[in-house]
Amino acid sequence: MRIRPLVSFPTSSHAGLRLEDGSRVGVVGAGPAGSFFAYFLLDMAGRVGLDLQVDILEPRDFLQPSPQGCNMCGGIVSESLVQNLAAEGISLPTTVIQRGIDSYHLHMDAGSVLIETPLHEMRIGAVHRGSGPRDVQRRDWESFDHYLLQKAIDKGARLVHARVDGVALEEGRPLLKIRGGGQERYDLLAVATGVNSSALQAFEAAGIGYTRPEVTKTVIREYHLGREVISRTVGNSMHVFLLTIPRLEFAALIPKGDYVTVCLLGEDIDNVLVQAFLDAPEVRRCFPPDWRPDAKSCQCMPHISVRGPARPYADRVVFVGDCGVTRLYKDGIGAAYRTAKAAARTAVFEGISAAAFHRHYGPVCRTIAADNVMGRLAFVFTRLVRRMSVARRAILRMTVAEQRRPGHLRRMSGILWDMFSGSAPYKDIFLRMLRPACAAGFAWAFVRSAWPPVSAPGSGKETVS
């Protein structure tokens, strides 16, 4: 049997390729993208009476605490994803959601403001991707990734504990080389490795036109505080910070179970930047007065995608989740759901050729990528706000005023809510920023915050809760 490298992998000349009864589908990676793909593929195949064999290849065990069993991310299930999953019949159980988030707390040097969910409902879920940090003391909950994987297994997928080392083509079909020996040939391959996996090199070298996403580094740390302390301090809010610390782009504290997760995004992020953030008075106020960060706490510095490949598909191969196209900085799990489901839908109903993926899966990827362009503009605006103290005061003034008048239109609060929660497309948020009423409200708040400079109420440490 002749095995040749994927250099000559066909990409456009097999428009009629389709899954048939007995087709074998390999899913590389059992994070949310891989599990969602397997789940929806089997669900939709079942609806049309198509009998598929689906293998999910994953070397990690999500039941193991520490980064070894974790897919390393902030662990937020967005408002829109919570709703979409509920409509799909996947209601996330209380054992998986570590804490329901019902509000955002925006902290700036000008002050803080609490922005509550429009319906006073727990609409955002904070989850542990794996089985918790390495110093986990009690485990009366379930890993989010394990929960989704189990859903896919319940639908009929088979979990194969294996690490993929190489990819080749055999008789027109992708062949996976497994570490430690062994090969598996599939009719369709869904790649859902994320961007922190060495397996991506094999696909990049395969000559199918795939290039791995551009990435940036983040910092994630898990601090044990205990549930009661968290309820008294951080509460059910996600705390976001727009601080003037050089190189710091965005920072958030996420309460979950006994832990608070610290997520930082910035340029050339390092421990010095992390320490500067933790020492900031706006951050210290969120923790108990005597709290000191534990140097031994669980921490990681994973990459996140900031620009996906132009064509995350080829004949019989599709890339979903972070290693395909994802949303800029926000709602990565939501993007994994959207791309995985679109790819599964295409594979069942439209075919598995590059042409089918281009026509039916491509639009979802292109919509997300186009929205990220608007997201970049929104983050340029955020950067400007971070640099202009009067703009920070104006935003605070406008938001505080809105939160004090229930029933009134909450333009700035809504923009900030959607920006932080990732609930709405960036385009939607950006267009709302430009609406005359919002722009006029902001201009008025800007003028009032700038003059008189001393007595402006928003210039103090004003907090609304």
């Binding site: 979409n84 409509a87 209380t94 959601i97 919509t367």
Partner: protein, 126 residues
């Protein structure tokens, strides 16, 4: 309510949806039961019950009309709101998200057909 409970808790008898109100969302029951009640001429008729995982108030997603029935908690219940705007945006991108909703509505049509058949048979004295 547990820290990880999404949605909102409704106490026994508390109303999720009131007949005659404008609606811009539907609900997915997370825990407990609710009853769907129609009020006419001062009399209440219980049309159906819904439990965990089921959708209620879904007609508001597609119809620009007021709520056709009242939905209230029967015992303690927890429900999650699904916004009309979010759901329609999602349907636009992925029509298959409506599979389950169509299944729910089909089941309700079948239940109503069965009920109508029973009422007709009773009226005919059968």
């Amino acid at each position: 309510m547990s820290n990880g409970a999404l949605g909102r808790v409704y106490e026994d008898g508390e109303i999720l949806v009131r007949q005659g109100d404008a609606g811009d969302c539907m609900y997915v029951i997370q825990e407990g039961d609710v009853e769907i009640v129609i009020e006419k001429d001062g009399r209440e008729t219980v049309l159906a019950h819904a439990g965990a995982g089921e959708m209620v108030g879904e007609m508001a997603i597609f119809l620009h009309e007021v709520r056709s029935a009242t939905v209230r908690a029967k015992g303690r219940a927890r429900a999650l709101t699904v916004d009309k705007k979010n759901f329609l945006r999602r349907i636009n991108e992925d029509p298959s998200i409506a599979f389950r909703l169509v299944e729910t509505m089909s089941r309700r049509v079948r239940d109503l057909s069965d009920a109508l058949a029973r009422v007709t048979r009773a009226a005919d004295g059968g």
